[in-house]
Symmetry: C2
């Protein structure tokens, strides 16, 4: 994997990541394909949307269909027929969401499958094994996602574990990639430390000492106030190595993307565009629109009059509302497509603005429109 | 609407229906778009599949979103953004499926909505009003679908009612189409009479006396043995007027289509390709394949190695199985697309065979392959 910053505009960066499978212009949003499918859209649609990289969840793929099966079928790219780049998470985030169903030790985590209750183990080494079997382009370190709230002590103990695990990940990853025919992969470290600036800095120092191909900020967007998320990002993002991609995990709303790019972030992922689509929440230039609202029953306008996506150029709010109310699968397909278009198009506009050194103007206009929309009935 | 028979090959006919919205080559299969959406596929996909006509269900559209809403938004074509032809059924079939929830009288039928329990009336006149509001290209008479089994007396009483209703439909339809700006529509009559040949003939005579733009065979595929369905079709289809389209309602399996074309049928509709797709049943040249079967877990082949559809040229059985087992929406999308392709491609091959006077050869080969496939494990 190669990474190059092409242009900076204040703290915002426009660059390009090159993997064995695609060229990814940054800042980039990565649609989430949990179990090997970005929910409710086809791979053809993702190509039409010009998605260059999507995410797969190690936890879900481990349970079903299993990484050994995926490996035997030629890896995740081939299995799901996705020729462009893939990033896999480490499984850590999902495991820690299991709460009482998991048992944490220095060695790793033991948990029960939510599918059949079987006992499963994850550790830095096992996570590296799995992600190597999956053959993703970008592999994430197995970390402990520090919950919110966490005391300073808890956050400190947690980041120390993440640091020790990061070293074990690096070692195992490097071992696995010394053999011939190992997939061409890059390993990213994950900064923890909760909402404590000095702990974030400490975590980053540990990771830098080990050395990674990219650096992620984990443990945000886990329930903390939005201002705190922005503050921590603002504090730590500029300290991440300049010459490596900076990835803010699990974030966020369209506004979060703009605000985090302003703070120096290059990569994002979030289930929001697809999950909210299935619940009837559509993203527009003027805010979120709940398509189930009776307000739209006779509305012949597209979801977003300024949107050029295949959904907005063909289908009306009235029809989309009808599909959602009727529980039609097409409702999920069209809403997911539109929301992904909105997210990817927003990132494209961000990249263009940075290249023209107009990012601050873009950001002001983006936020102003959102405020105007939120004053209108039907948007929030 | 215009109809022309271009070629006959024994009893099989190849022709073309021209509506205000599209040219429809026959024999044709019409995908069912119950509530204004062919389940799990987009209108773009239907266009890619070269579907020229799809079906809408009056009963479902009446309940939601309501025909007055559809009319006020410019009709069903505009509402669902489907520029090609539409056929609407009369609502009769669904109402009669309600059993005890409906009350039948000479005037019409009263029933309770399955959605909110409200009391709704359907009659020949109301059905014509609704279908005119929807603006479909082909309107079906409001008939009583005689159940199976039915005694001779029951079938006779039922067909007589259907006959009287057919006359009322014709009168009301003609009244509605004398006004300016009425949609360009054609009205089809429906032959009833159960499994009794002389009653079928009697029903047809009544309809011919009234006169319709096309003739349908109703009350088949309602539980009678397959041989009886073929026999009734063989008996009555050739007696339907030569110069009008002949439509066998609610049929059927791919083999049913081939066998019914051999008996003189031009038009079909059925939920089978889309409904079975959602349950994991895929149609192939060699029979039905249940994609959930553990047999396919590592199978890298496409669903049908001879199929040229967008699903078979990209995705493996192993991946499709994984999607179905995981309950992913993409499973329904891809399976529905493939099954519709298989149905529409079968109809295309049928048309080509008839035009080359090779239909009997096609039919023998089609049935022979099916038998070969059914001898293989995994197909039925």
């Amino acid at each position: 994997m190669q990474f190059e910053v092409l242009q900076t505009d204040s703290k915002a960066r426009a660059g390009v990541i090159r993997t064995a499978h695609s060229e990814i212009e940054t800042p980039v949003f990565m649609p989430v394909g949990t179990v090997g499918s970005v929910k409710a859209v086809t791979q053809e649609m993702l190509e039409a949307l010009d998605a260059r990289i999507i995410l797969g969840n190690t936890y879900h793929l481990l349970l079903r269909p299993g990484h050994e099966l995926v490996r035997s079928l030629g890896g995740l790219h081939k299995f799901i027929s996705w020729p462009r780049s893939l990033l896999t998470d480490s499984g850590g985030y999902q495991v820690f969401s299991l709460g009482d169903l998991r048992k944490l030790a220095e060695e790793g985590v033991t948990f029960r499958s939510h599918l059949d209750g079987s006992l499963i183990k994850l550790s830095p080494e096992i996570s590296m094994e799995i992600q190597t079997a999956l053959g993703s382009d970008i592999v994430m370190c197995f970390d402990e996602c520090t919950p919110f709230p966490a005391t300073r002590d808890e956050a400190n103990i947690s980041l120390e574990l993440t640091g020790r695990w990061a070293r074990r990940c690096r070692t195992k990853f490097d071992d696995l990639h010394q053999v011939e025919n190992a997939p061409d992969q890059a390993l990213f470290g994950i900064v923890q430390g909760g909402v404590y600036q000095d702990l974030r800095r400490k975590s980053l120092d540990q990771l830098r000492e080990i050395g990674f191909e990219g650096y992620a900020i984990g443990g945000l967007s886990v329930g903390e106030p939005k201002e705190q998320m922005y503050d921590i990002t603002e504090f730590i993002a500029p300290q991440l190595p300049d010459d490596r991609p900076r990835y803010l995990m699990g974030v966020g709303t369209p506004q979060d993307l703009v605000e985090s790019v302003a703070r120096g972030i290059d990569m994002f992922d979030c289930v929001m565009p697809t999950r909210n689509a299935r619940n009837g929440q559509l993203f527009t230039t003027f805010g979120k629109l709940n398509i189930r609202n009776a307000r739209w029953v006779r509305d012949e306008r597209p979801v977003d009059e300024e949107c050029k996506c295949a959904v907005c150029t063909r289908y009306s709010r009235a029809y989309l509302r009808h599909l959602h109310i009727s529980g039609e699968i097409l409702a999920s397909i069209l809403a997911s497509y539109h929301n992904l278009y909105f997210y990817l198009d927003t990132m494209k506009r961000i990249r263009q603005a940075i290249r023209l050194s107009l990012f601050e103007e873009f950001r002001l206009e983006f936020n102003a429109r959102l405020s105007r929309g939120q004053a209108e009935p039907g948007f929030d």
